[in-house]
């Protein structure tokens, strides 16, 4: 089951920020022997535990994180996602496999080089914030710079800028205990941003927050990503969050990546029954794009008239356009008509019978599925 490998094979060009290959993390006695032993690696989690007393938190995971993307790792608790993100900067020492940051082998780094990596290249935001309760907001944000040995005046100045950037002006002198949960996580975010890292790692940063605050924070992350274009690796157990933030999503189960792809691929063509069950309640019209639902224009007349929508517009946007116009809409890209969507096609997407290969109820007319682009082609699209 190496979905990951096939998907990452599609990338070309510049070096990925993180490149992970065949990564294993096994907890327990004599954990080293597990990844190398084909007999043991074939076992399920329960059998492995009873045979060896070991737990494989991460099993043979491979993926690349591309520059500037938001890479989401999602899975339920115990799926190994938090262990995985800690392996990236060796907060947890991996058992086997390769990790490279900008092509440099992370597992071969010595203590000083590793500290260098943690200080300047990858900063992490934690679920329960991990703030130092005895320091003010400003000094918490400046803490990473202090670790680097930046002088007091300079680090405070830089910290103050970041505090303003995350919307905490006027709270510089407060203690973490005097802040709300959302504000604390803003401090956590600011602390990570203050060291100006190449990659931001988020470990379920918003799970401990109220739903409304969580939405604010998600929008904050979207905004930051839009403004700065920083590469992000985002761990979450919340599917909505994953779909909202992720350029690509790796879905984990029992330590393995069961599917890796864009939100649209995950929702539109689940790799197995587990993923299908997972995405069943997702409102498809808000994730699927019209590119999936369109068909070639039947006639020149159809290609010239009607409202125009972008190919990456969501189905729900197209529904609105089609409903207003009362007829099919054209999918336009750079003045060229790629195809058309009509109400029937859009309805199929909402009903979950379109674009889903191998669904039991594949009663959808074959003609509608023909123009559906392959998932690989979609993932090439810069989003």
């Amino acid at each position: 089951m190496s979905t990951a490998a096939t998907t990452t094979a599609g990338t070309a060009g510049d070096t990925p920020v993180f490149s992970v290959g065949g990564l294993w993390k096994v907890f327990g006695p004599k954990a080293d022997r597990v990844p190398g032993d084909p007999e043991l690696t074939a076992l399920g989690p329960a059998e492995l535990r009873s045979r060896t007393g070991c737990t494989a938190a991460v099993r043979d995971v491979s993926f690349d994180v591309r520059k500037g993307e938001v890479f989401v790792v999602m899975g339920l608790s115990g799926s190994g996602k938090s262990t995985l993100v800690r392996c990236l900067t060796r907060l947890i020492e991996p058992t086997a496999g390769t990790i490279a940051i900008d092509g440099e082998d992370v597992r071969a780094m010595d203590g000083a080089r590793l500290r260098e990596l943690r200080r300047h290249r990858a900063a992490m935001v934690f679920q329960h914030f991990g703030l130092l309760p005895h320091r003010t907001v400003l000094d918490n944000v400046a803490y990473g710079l202090q670790i680097q040995g930046v002088g007091k005046a300079e680090r405070r100045e830089r910290a103050a800028e970041v505090v303003a950037k995350v919307g905490l002006e006027g709270m510089e002198q407060r203690r973490p205990a005097q802040l709300s949960g959302g504000q604390r996580q803003r401090v956590g975010l600011a602390r990570a941003l203050a060291v100006d890292p190449e990659v931001l790692l988020f470990d379920e940063p918003f799970s401990a927050l109220d739903p409304l605050i969580r939405r604010d924070m998600q929008e904050e992350v979207v905004r930051l990503h839009r403004e700065e274009g920083r590469t992000m690796v985002f761990i979450t157990h919340d599917l909505q969050e994953a779909l909202k933030l992720g350029d690509r999503i790796a879905l984990m189960r029992d330590g393995r990546v069961v599917q890796l792809g864009t939100p649209e691929e995950i929702v539109g063509s689940p790799a197995d029954d587990y993923v299908r069950a997972f995405v069943r309640d997702v409102p498809r019209e808000q994730v699927m794009t019209v590119r999936t639902a369109m068909r070639p224009a039947a006639s020149a007349e159809e290609a010239d008239g009607g409202p125009a929508v972008r190919p990456d517009a969501t189905v729900s946007e197209a529904i609105e356009a089609v409903a207003r116009a009362g007829g099919p809409a054209r999918v336009m890209e750079q003045g060229r008509c790629l195809g058309v969507v009509d109400s029937a096609a859009l309805l199929d997407v909402v009903a979950g019978v379109a674009g889903m290969t191998g669904v039991a109820g594949a009663a959808a007319p074959a003609r509608r599925r023909e123009p559906t682009p392959t998932p690989a082609a979609v993932s090439e699209e810069p989003v």
């Binding site: 260098e116 943690r118 900063a123 934690f126 991990g130 130092l132 005895h134 320091r135 205990a177």
Partner: protein, 649 residues
């Protein structure tokens, strides 16, 4: 096996007669059936058989003589203990002279200002008043002596404790090695520490300071380790993820995160140091404790009270100020903190200089209020009117006499009449039922060691006093604790009383009981009960109040009466707390019963005092070792399977 039985018992809380307990008893009965006839046939006697004792007093006496002979010549003393001793003497002397040089006004001002900055203006006033009261009672010089000894002892205890705590906090191996030692040191009575240091250093200030350090350092070490280990894992991970070195992590995260525990450790260390500094008067500490000791020796209650009140005041002030400093940790610092410190310092210096210039460094004689005389008159009146012959209720001395005749004597004679092996068997059965086979084994070995040391009889005498005191403590303590847990008003009334009682050094409790009951075993028991009660009440009340409210609510919704709620929900669920209360009660009672040797308690405590007074260290050391064994045995017998990380007291 131990863990299995423990979980099994958790599933069925009520009644010790569940199957694991029965199984343990049966196993024990089986072992006893084999061993007891053998033992009884060979060494049949009520008391510990002669054949099984080892006379250690001769080698101990020789060792003590050797040390006395070689103290001035042997390199170990010349180059190590000698230097330690000198450093301690010089340090205490220096602090004492410095305090004298600042003058009474200066000392009071400095103390009040430190209290102000650390704990607020109300405690500052209290601190100032307490110091002035010490002067008014004519105890200024002894107070300074005690303070000087305390300053040196606390500084050394904190240094030692923090170092040990750092080691135990950062290294798992050190933690495993240190924890049982620290746990055990915590349960031993203060008296047990006196003789070994006297053996090495002789009677005097160095011995007193070192005994104090040995007694007071363990809580600092424990709490430092606890704080370092208890740090929020995610914070440490966050620090690690920012690329901190091990040193940066320790200095900027782990130690600051443990500040609360460190301050609590400081608080406990100070309180234990004060307690010990007072007790150490029997090995030459001088100061307030010495005044109490001398006064008690001549049953001069007035003089003892005049010295005892400053001890209590010091204890309360030190406890409240350090406690308040700990409680303030979470708050943001007040603005201009530094400027205020500077003002405080300048003011204190001004007061001290003014005192110097006006040449009023010593407490003026005219300001001393002698309370010894009126107190003694009152005690005399009490002796005449309350001791005996009060109609209907009888007198206090009568009560003490009755208690001795009807409770202590039969208990002691009964224990001493019991065949020695049956005592061991009872110890084993109790310890195993409550704890694990490990604790049972330790308890039995400790008890056997007492027999081997040849102090079986006096130890059983002490044990009888402990049992009587524990019984009274538990009955009164559980009743009060339940009342406090069920009524907020009772708790509000009790809280300040418990607060003060829990901060007072053990020694002080002897003063009022001597006034009321004279000397003998009954007053020793009474002092022990009063000393142990607050902890038992507090742990009981807390345990009952912390019972899961949902469980209580569901019982209430089923229509349980408040009696049913107490019996069927609160008490069973609070079982760990109640066991802890028993354990603490036993440990605290033992400590004071031993000290009771000073007021006619006899038995092991008296042996220690006698050994010190007569220079017969062998007797004292054997008694000290027996105290250690008795403490170990009593602690293990009452030790619940899961020991709490922190003690309630």
């Amino acid at each position: 096996m131990a863990t299995i039985t423990a979980t099994a018992r958790k599933d069925s809380p009520p009644g010790p007669l569940t199957s694991p307990a029965l199984r343990k008893l049966l196993t024990l009965a089986l072992v006893a059936a084999v061993l007891v006839p053998l033992a009884a046939a060979r060494w049949a006697s009520g008391t510990w058989p002669e054949a099984l004792t080892v006379d250690v007093s001769e080698p101990l006496g020789e060792a003590s003589d050797w040390i006395i002979d070689n103290r001035d010549s042997h390199p170990l003393f010349l180059y190590f203990f000698g230097h330690v001793s000198n450093v301690v003497v010089i340090a205490v002397r220096a602090v004492y002279l410095a305090l004298l040089a600042v003058g009474w006004a200066g000392v009071t001002a400095v103390a009040a200002l430190v209290a102000w900055r650390a704990a607020g203006s109300r405690l500052a006033l209290g601190t100032g008043a307490a110091f002035l009261a010490c002067g008014l009672l004519g105890m200024w010089v002894p107070t300074l002596q005690t303070l000087a000894l305390m300053v040196v002892a606390v500084a050394a205890s904190v240094a030692v404790g923090v170092l040990l705590g750092l080691a135990a906090g950062l290294s798992d191996r050190m933690h495993r090695a240190l924890r049982p030692v620290l746990d055990t040191m915590q349960v031993l009575p203060a008296f047990a520490y006196l003789l070994p240091v006297v053996l090495v250093f002789g009677i005097g200030v160095p011995a007193a300071v070192l005994a104090t350090v040995v007694y007071a350092a363990p809580p600092m070490a424990r709490l430092t380790a606890l704080g370092l280990r208890g740090a929020d894992e995610e914070v440490l991970e966050a620090v690690e993820s920012l690329g901190a070195t091990a040193r940066q992590r320790l200095l900027t995260a782990r130690i600051p995160l443990a500040r609360r525990e460190l301050l609590l450790g400081l608080n406990q260390t100070i309180m234990m140091a004060l307690s010990m500094a007072v007790i150490a008067s029997v090995i030459g500490a001088g100061g307030l404790g010495d005044r109490v000791y001398q006064a008690l020796a001549s049953v001069d209650v007035g003089a003892a009270l005049a010295a005892g009140i400053p001890i209590v005041l010091l204890a309360v002030v030190l406890d409240r100020v350090t406690g308040a400093a700990g409680a303030r940790l979470g708050e943001a610092p007040a603005p201009h903190a530094r400027a205020l410190w500077a003002y405080a310092l300048i003011a204190a210096v001004a007061v001290a200089v003014a005192g110097r210039l006006t040449d009023r460094l010593e407490w003026p004689d005219g300001w001393v209020v002698g309370i010894a005389e009126p107190v003694n008159r009152a005690v005399g009146w009490m002796t005449d009117h309350l001791y005996s012959g009060v109609p209907v209720v009888g007198g206090t001395a009568d009560w003490a006499g009755h208690f001795t005749t009807w409770v202590l004597d039969p208990l002691r004679d009964g224990l001493q009449w019991l065949p020695w092996w049956s005592v061991l068997l009872v110890v084993a059965a109790l310890a195993w039922l409550i704890g694990t086979w490990r604790t049972a084994l330790t308890a039995v070995l400790a008890m056997a060691a007492i027999g081997v040391l040849g102090v079986w009889k006096p130890s059983l005498d002490t044990l009888s006093q402990v049992l009587a005191a524990v019984a009274v403590t538990l009955v009164v303590g559980f009743a009060t604790g339940i009342a406090a847990a069920r009524s907020d008003r009772v708790e509000r009334l009790l809280r300040p009383v418990l607060d003060v009682f829990q901060t007072m050094p053990q020694f002080v409790y002897l003063i009022p009981v001597v006034a009321l009951f004279g000397v003998g075993r009954a007053p020793a028991v009474a002092a022990a009960v009063v000393y142990a009660l607050p902890a038992v009440v507090r742990i009981t009340a807390q345990g009952l109040r912390q019972v899961d409210p949902a469980a209580l609510e569901s019982a209430r919704s089923l229509g349980a009466t408040s009696g049913q709620q107490l019996r069927q929900v609160q008490l069973p669920l609070a079982r760990p707390a109640l066991l802890l209360a028993v354990n603490q009660g036993v440990v605290l009672v033992l400590a004071v019963v031993i000290i009771g040797g000073l007021v006619g308690g006899g038995a092991l405590g008296y042996d220690v005092v006698f050994g010190l007074a007569q220079g017969d260290l062998a007797t004292g050391l054997v008694a000290g070792a027996a105290i250690v064994c008795l403490g170990l045995m009593l602690d293990r017998v009452t030790q619940p399977t899961e020991r709490r990380a922190k003690k309630g007291a």
